[in-house]
């Protein structure tokens, strides 16, 4: 599904060193590491924000190493929700579909599907995303990423800015989404309990190097 072969890249005095990963379809990978370990940089490199200096990334058998983010079909959810503040909830969700040439009918069908999947019915028609709670906003961000039917979902500490209740609700949502969509997911976190409750496989990263790969028993 996702194959990363020996990628490395240098940013000033930090570098990702010879990272290789092989992720099978539908797998939920948690990338665990302390802050400053390079997990976010690795994720951004997979998303196409940065191009690696060496190595190769291929998704579904296709080499995507030098493709820009808009051509990779990768859903990316950040620590902060980064909803577009000048758009309504619905406009945020259909933003990606518009750029992938969906028809109006397809867009409303997909929106309806996501509403049911993520329990968005109470907030889907809100105009102002500023008044959403942290958990609600993060769900909208997730819906926006899922709307383009990505081949790969990247989650960069999606719960670290949420309180306890919201966190649990997002964990449940993510489990549900993974079960329903069988979507290959890489989830970055520094929280071991979060990692244990979600991962099929946990990968730890330290100083830009992958240290341990372990499968959940």
């Amino acid at each position: 599904m996702l194959e990363i072969k020996n990628i490395s890249r240098v940013w000033g005095n930090f570098s990702l060193k010879n990272i290789s990963l092989d992720i099978s379809p539908g797998e939920y990978i948690v990338l665990l590491g302390p802050s400053g370990s390079g997990k976010t940089l690795l994720l951004s490199t997979i998303a196409g924000v940065y191009t690696p200096d060496n190595g190769q990334i291929s998704l579904k058998g296709k080499d995507i190493t030098s493709l820009p983010p808009q051509k990779r079909f990768v859903g990316y959810v950040f620590q902060k929700n980064y909803l577009f503040p000048h758009m309504s909830v619905r406009q945020n969700i259909i933003f990606g579909m518009k750029h992938h040439g969906y028809t109006k009918k397809e867009m409303s069908a997909m929106t309806g599907y996501l509403r049911n999947l993520l329990n968005l019915s109470s907030i889907l028609d809100r105009h102002d995303t500023r008044f959403l709670s942290g958990g609600e906003a993060q769900k909208v961000a997730l819906a926006r990423a899922l709307a383009i039917k990505p081949d790969l979902l990247l989650l960069d500490e999606p719960m670290s800015s949420l309180d306890y209740d919201n966190r649990n609700s997002i964990i449940e949502t993510l489990k549900h989404v993974n079960k329903e969509l069988k979507l290959t997911t890489i989830h970055v976190t520094h929280d071991i309990t979060e990692a244990k409750s979600l991962a099929h496989r946990i990968i730890t990263i330290k100083n830009g190097e992958i240290t341990v790969l372990k499968t959940r028993s």
């Binding site: 951004s44 983010p69 808009q70 000048h86």
Partner: protein, 395 residues
């Protein structure tokens, strides 16, 4: 009982003492004013704390010394003590009264303007005080207000110098109307040109780091530094008549920058561009670049991201820049005197009138120009904060 004794005392004071140097009418007015003050004073003596009552007496004494004794105007004194005594329990209104007294008596020739600006200042300060804003911030604001004071007084003063009739007469001057039209047209075109080239530049400056970025930043600011006449001369030296570039332009495109709209627009673009570019840079810098990253991962190209995410989110700042650049372009005069005296823009026309006919002939036209520009400025600000502000400017 004591009220009546005091009243009789005041009465006797007026009859015996003041009648010797005041005519009977004035004395009567003064007497009634003093009686009103006396009765209010007795009421205050009973209800207010001793300190406040002393303050009341001190105020009375100051008014007496200043208006009655120093300015020797018993009628004004009568008027002001009645207002003073009745407003004493309402400190906010009392403040306006004190500003009013001060403006009419001390700043007599400019009292309207002075009163308006000071009343505005006072209103803001009272508002801040009620909101329990910190004293330090109130003081810093007050220090800064001195500048606004210097800016507002001349503009307000000139606007109240002429009757509406004289302004209407100047509207009928076809040359002035032509000049104002020229100004509006050229400054609008200049602003559009700056917008088309400045916004992409600003975006790049906000997003990329490169060696020599500081040098490019100084280049952007250069027009603010260069004296306007020098800018005009520089443009003429490179592209004026009988220069290689000037000859090329006139023979190939049949345009000349000296004495033409093209020249005016080039000069205005030159002097006004920094304002739009600067505010657009700060607006783009305020946008979290992750919003743009998200947009790209969702499939939007760099161009779509620019138009659908970056521009809408920076629109408030860009619009501020448009207002500043347009204002700067329309007020340009120095470089235009060198490069394109004709066709005349409004500020050049005004200067011309001033040189030819003097100050009083120019005043109505100047007022007309101020009103035109101020009106457009207010409309633009309104657009910035209402329709655009509601839709796009969020944090």
């Amino acid at each position: 009982m004591s009220k009546i004794i005091l009243a009789i005392f005041v009465l006797l004071l007026h009859v015996l003492l003041f009648s010797s140097f005041l005519d009977i009418g004035t004395n009567l007015v003064l007497l009634s004013a003093n009686l009103v003050t006396l009765f209010l004073g007795i009421y205050y003596y009973k209800t207010l704390s001793p300190i406040k009552f002393t303050l009341f007496l001190t105020g009375y004494l100051i008014l007496f010394l200043f208006i009655f004794a120093f300015l020797n105007s018993p009628l004004l004194f009568s008027l002001f003590i009645i207002l003073y005594a009745s407003l004493f329990r309402l400190p906010v209104l009392l403040g306006y009264l004190i500003i009013f007294i001060f403006s009419t008596l001390v700043m007599t020739p400019y009292w309207v303007q002075f009163f308006l600006v000071m009343a505005l200042f006072y209103t803001i300060i009272i508002g801040l005080y009620i909101k329990r804003q910190s004293l330090f911030l109130i003081i810093t604001f007050s220090i800064g207000f001195v500048l606004l004071f210097i800016i507002c007084i001349p503009i307000l003063y000139i606007m109240m110098q002429n009757t509406p009739q004289s302004i209407i007469t100047s509207i009928k001057d076809p040359k002035l109307i032509e000049a104002i039209k020229n100004s509006l047209l050229t400054s609008t075109i200049s602003t559009i040109i700056v917008l088309i080239f400045g916004v992409p530049l600003a975006y790049a400056m906000a997003r990329i780091e490169f060696p020599g970025k500081k040098i490019v930043e100084s280049m952007i600011d250069l027009p603010i530094l260069v004296p306007q006449t020098v800018a005009g001369i520089a443009l003429l030296v490179i592209a004026g008549p009988k220069t290689p570039l000037g000859d090329f332009l006139s023979s190939t495109f049949n345009i000349s920058i000296a004495g033409s709209y093209v020249g005016i627009i080039i000069a205005q673009v030159f002097v006004s561009s920094p304002f739009l570019i600067r505010s657009a840079i700060s607006a783009f810098e305020l946008i979290d670049t992750n919003l743009e990253t998200v947009s790209r991962t969702l499939g939007a190209s760099n161009l779509s991201t620019f138009f659908k995410i970056s521009i809408p989110l920076a629109l408030g700042g860009i619009f501020n820049g448009i207002i500043l650049t347009w204002s700067r372009a329309i007020s340009e005069v120095g470089s235009l005197m060198v490069i394109a005296y004709y066709p005349k823009t409004a500020p050049v026309y005004l200067y011309d009138q001033f040189i030819q006919y003097g100050l009083s002939e120019t005043k109505p036209a100047a007022i007309l120009l101020i009103i035109t520009c101020l009106w457009i400025f207010i409309v633009l600000r309104w657009i910035r904060y209402y329709p655009i502000g509601r839709k796009f400017v969020r944090n």
